[in-house]
């Protein structure tokens, strides 16, 4: 299974994401270098997709990558005042809405949250991450 995954997705993981995303007109993708992710337009019932750079090819690195992605999505949900975003392996999700888009402001707020997480005392960090997940 690991070999299949490494063969099929050698450098990045792609997720179908349920959320609200606004793609500027004429743009085919939005790359957020500071977060290490790229938003791709969805098709059919998919809202949008995230391409996420892999850090290695071992099971441990996959675990770490998933954890990092979850942390980014939690931070992004927080930056959107609690409106959740979930990465899922499912092929279909809810229809697109632009009522509260992921725009530059949300990306900037997400980056601030992630920077803040990196700065806090390591003893309180897991608590803070759990609190963000529940927010």
């Amino acid at each position: 299974m690991l070999e299949d995954m490494n063969q099929q997705y050698p450098s990045e993981l792609k997720f179908n994401v349920k959320g609200e995303f606004h793609m500027p007109e004429g743009q085919i993708s939005v790359k957020v270098d500071s977060l290490g992710i790229e938003f791709l337009p969805g098709s059919g019932g998919v809202d949008f997709r995230i391409a996420f750079s892999r850090s290695g090819s071992t099971l441990e690195s996959i675990d770490a990558d998933f954890e990092r992605l979850e942390r980014i999505l939690d931070a992004m949900s927080f930056a959107r005042d609690g409106r959740g975003i979930r990465a899922a392996p499912a092929l279909r999700s809810a229809k697109t809405s632009v009522s509260f888009p992921i725009d530059e402001m949300v990306v900037e707020r997400t980056r601030l949250v992630l920077d803040g997480l990196n700065r806090v005392n390591s003893s309180i960090r897991p608590t803070l991450e759990r609190s963000l997940t529940l927010f």
């Binding site: 609690g82 601030l112 949250v113 803040g116 309180i124 608590t127 803070l128 997940t133 529940l134």
Partner: protein, 141 residues
């Protein structure tokens, strides 16, 4: 979920200032001595939940104090101490959990909805403060 987010954060933060067994015993003795012969059932309940057992409420208050310092009076009041008492978030949370809120009653629904707005402010500001970021929302009265 939002309340859980707040509770997890505050209990975790307040844990650093948790009073020792000796301190709790000393506080209990001081409290009992201050009441003398007027010690009531309510006093014993407070003694148990706030001093001896360190209830969730007490631990959350300690978390607010650690997190906000002097400014903690705002979120503490909103959650546990403000007038009218039925708008204290702790009471609203308990009523929801114990199924004492009837959704079809407009007054009760309004109470839960307004409480939800305030809870969002308290939880958002608490996480921002813990992250070292500026607060985004003004404290409700």
């Amino acid at each position: 979920m939002l309340w859980n987010s707040l509770e997890v954060l505050l209990v975790g933060i307040g844990e650093d200032d948790k009073p020792t067994r000796d301190k709790r015993l000393e506080d209990a003795r001081t409290f009992i001595a201050s009441r003398g012969n007027a010690l009531s059932l309510e006093d014993l309940e407070r003694l148990n939940s706030d001093i001896v057992q360190q209830s969730i409420r007490r631990r959350m208050i300690r978390g607010f104090d650690s997190l906000f310092g002097q400014e903690s009076r705002h979120p503490i009041s909103i959650c546990f101490d403000r007038d009218p008492p039925e708008m204290q978030l702790w009471g609203i949370r308990n009523d929801i959990i114990h199924a004492n809120v009837v959704e079809r009653d407009p007054q009760q629904r309004t109470r839960a909805i307004f409480g939800g707005f305030d809870l969002h402010t308290v939880a958002l500001n608490s996480i921002l403060k813990a992250l070292g970021l500026p607060l985004r929302l003004a404290w409700p009265s």
